[in-house]
């Protein structure tokens, strides 16, 4: 078998069998399973069907019934009980855990309802909000009755104003589509960001480990460093694809099993009701290109250090580039058509995330995406040629210093005068 394949497969299998890889994969699978089963999990913890009981101390004797009706409309899981004892006893009952809270209803000076809510803690704002909304309704009705407004008039008053947005550009996404796209793009951006950082790191560590353990010298006496570098990059690339495939398959199966409960609610808002195939394809393309760009960079940076401890320091500038790209992309989620986003999407180090953001969120012409991909691919080739030369010298250099001046030294080492 060709040496290239031997190294590729060795790198791949070796990493695949490593403990850290197995643990990260399992942990992530658990998280994916957790997210896709989120509704089931919430239901497990809310055994009593999520119902909450509140004691009502009605000082007026007139408010309890209408209040109960209104609250039932808002949230039927809230159980209101008219409490017969005095305030002290009611408080005691809350402390004993018989009720989740206690609400005292009264009239104010204008004969309008007002309330005091007491609970062990007031952190549960959703219950409080529901109760407040219910009482608000009661108050509105009473006020309307006082003014002699008919039901019809009242409805008119509360009817929401008609207000819609429309994009003039052809093919532009509607507001609803944009919201959906945003969720999906957001998640995929995260995937690209983490993959690029994690696997580029892995490459740099791998190279530095081989160099610091001095096995490198034996390796490059049997295989040319350039061949070795690219076999390594592809081996780890294959590893990343395998890992992502596991996540995607687990995610997809689990997701489609819980499709009904998930497509409305939390996940529906994130645009997973219907997954656009094109966006996923673009994500894979940009993920791979982004990986190759940063992996090449990481490989030659890794070849410059002599000790593993120095790796992080050496690749920090690279990591910052990825982070910067991600931050710009996060900003772009809210304003994908900003000039700034358009410009940065053509800068190769940012293209994988920002061009992806644009194709995911906007309907940009195909050639724009293609131009971005072409510039990116060109940069990868240039970087690979340059990186290979640095790598060839870098792996032979040992010493304390690990600055970017070493790039020049490494190039000098391979030069034939």
């Amino acid at each position: 078998m060709n040496n290239f394949w031997i190294i590729l497969i060795h790198t791949y299998l070796n990493k695949l069998k490593s403990k850290s890889f197995i643990i990260t994969t399992i942990l992530t699978v658990i998280i994916v399973l957790g997210l896709t089963n989120i509704n089931n999990i919430i239901n497990i913890f809310d055994k009593n069907g999520g119902s909450e009981t509140v004691a009502v101390l009605d000082g007026t004797g007139k408010l309890f019934e209408p209040f109960k009706q209104q609250v039932a409309v808002i949230n039927k899981d809230i159980k209101l009980t008219q409490y017969k004892g005095n305030e002290k006893e009611a408080e005691q009952a809350v402390e004993n855990g018989d009720f989740d809270g206690l609400i005292q209803l009264d009239f104010n000076s204008e004969q309008m309802p007002e309330a005091l809510y007491k609970a062990m803690s007031i952190a549960d704002s959703s219950l409080f909000n529901d109760l407040q909304a219910g009482l608000q309704q009661v108050k509105t009705m009473m006020a309307a009755a006082k003014l002699n407004l008919t039901q019809n008039q009242l409805q008119k008053l509360y009817e929401p104003v008609g207000f819609e947005k429309a994009a003039l550009e052809k093919n532009a996404k509607t507001e609803e589509e944009l919201n959906q796209a945003r969720g999906l793009v957001y998640v995929l951006l995260f995937v690209i960001y983490f993959s690029v950082i994690m696997y580029a790191n892995m490459i740099a560590m791998e190279v530095a480990t081989e160099k610091s353990s001095r096995v490198m010298e034996i390796l490059i006496s049997s295989v040319s460093p350039i061949k070795q570098m690219f076999a390594k990059i592809l081996g780890i690339g294959l590893l990343s694809l395998s890992q992502l495939a596991v996540f995607l398959i687990v995610g997809y199966i689990s997701f489609s099993r819980n499709m009904e409960s998930l497509s409305d609610g939390f996940w529906g808002e994130f645009g997973f009701g219907s997954i656009p195939v094109a966006t996923i394809c673009y994500a894979v393309v940009f993920l791979l290109l982004g990986y190759f760009l940063y992996a090449t960079l990481a490989a030659f940076l890794g070849s410059l250090v002599s000790r593993i401890e120095d790796v992080q320091q050496m690749i920090t500038p690279m990591t910052l580039l990825v982070v910067a790209g991600f931050m710009i992309a996060m900003f772009g989620l809210g304003k994908p058509d900003a000039m700034f986003i358009t410009v940065t999407s053509y800068i190769p180090f940012f293209t994988p995330m920002i061009m992806f953001l644009r194709v995911g969120m906007l309907s940009i012409p195909f050639w724009e995406a293609l131009t971005g991909i072409a510039i990116l691919a060109g940069t990868i080739i240039v970087l690979a040629i340059f990186g290979a030369r640095v790598y060839r010298g870098g792996v032979l250099m040992y010493g304390k210093s690990n600055s970017f001046k070493d790039i020049k030294k490494a190039l000098q080492l391979t030069k034939n005068e």
């Binding site: 078998m1 040496n3 031997i6 190294i7 060795h10 070796n14 480990t209 081989e210 353990s213 001095r214 096995v215 490198m216 010298e217 034996i218 390796l219 490059i220 006496s221 049997s222 295989v223 040319s224 032979l396 040992y398 000098q412 080492l413 391979t414 034939n416 005068e417």
Partner: protein, 299 residues
């Protein structure tokens, strides 16, 4: 199929690591390559292996140039030992052997042969980091020779080993030579070189200062050592004509003299002064030659 270095020079920027080195390393022989630290030995090895390209000159092995297509015929034991610490001995030897063009089954068979030979058959499934330094070195040696190279480069193969392990490795090196392997070998321990090598070269600051067969080098050096054990003081011999250096020992004195004739006059000089227990004329050791040729510039 001799290994030939033809006016090889290697410069790194303004620094010249190897300067106009011409060598011919005979086939099926052990060639000693000596030099102080920083003399250019490792750079020369790297050029022979094709890791670095010479700035000037060329290196050939018989008719063919050495490059990655010949890597299955070349074995290399680097000065800095290196193996994957986390990998099992078996996995890494098989991996490295396959990169040198061996089949997996063949590599395993060879590995077991060598482990048996070094009396460590149970290391096959151990991780390298679990082994002692000396034993790691044995594994490293196996990695260098497992594919039966025709040309073997050993950079300091015996450093850091105990005498028993040195003997084991030395025997293995001699056996390889007898099977027709050409071996280039560097060491700082002169007695190893004297024991193993027929031809050698001493490098100093990138230049060969001594080059040839061991016997010729010693003869050409001219100076001899004269060891005298006597009951009387040998102080006065220090200034005797023809004596280059005098070093007092526990029982007498060790003199370095210009030629054999000087020994004769010294004997005449000291006869009758008292009891002479020992009077021996010795060949200079390689150590003396090395120190004289290389050490001179340090003084």
């Amino acid at each position: 199929m001799a290994l030939k270095l033809d006016h090889v020079t290697k410069r790194f920027g303004t620094f010249t690591a190897v300067n106009d080195l011409s060598l011919e390393i005979p086939d099926k022989e052990i060639f000693g390559f000596l030099g102080a630290n920083g003399a250019g030995k490792t750079t020369t090895f790297r050029m022979i292996l094709g890791l670095l390209d010479p700035s000037i000159g060329k290196i050939s092995w018989g008719e063919i140039p050495l490059n990655y297509s010949t890597s299955h015929m070349v074995g290399y034991l680097p000065e800095e030992r290196g193996l994957y610490p986390k990998l099992k001995v078996r996995d890494q030897i098989v991996y490295l052997a396959r990169l040198r063009g061996m089949q997996k089954s063949e590599a395993l068979q060879e590995l077991r042969f060598w482990l048996e030979k070094f009396n460590v058959p149970d290391y096959e499934n151990k991780k390298v980091e679990e082994l002692s330094k000396g034993n790691q070195q044995k594994i490293q040696f196996i990695a260098a020779v497992i594919h039966k190279p025709k040309l073997l480069i050993l950079d300091e193969p015996f450093s850091g080993l105990d005498p028993v392990n040195v003997e084991q490795l030395k025997d293995a090196v001699i056996a390889l030579k007898e099977n027709g392997t050409t071996i280039v070998f560097s060491s700082h321990q002169m007695h190893h070189v004297e024991e193993l090598c027929e031809h050698l070269c001493i490098m100093h600051k990138g230049k060969p200062v001594v080059h040839g067969s061991l016997k010729e080098i010693k003869r050409a050096f001219g100076k001899k050592n004269l060891l005298i054990h006597a009951d009387f003081s040998l102080e006065s011999l220090k200034d005797f004509p023809g004596v280059v250096k005098a070093k007092p020992t526990m029982e007498g004195s060790l003199l370095q003299i210009e030629s054999e004739i000087v020994a004769d006059s010294i004997l005449k000089e000291i006869v009758g002064k008292g009891f002479i227990r020992k009077f021996t004329l010795e060949e200079p050791s390689l150590n003396d030659i090395f120190i004289e040729k290389v050490g001179a510039s340090y003084e």
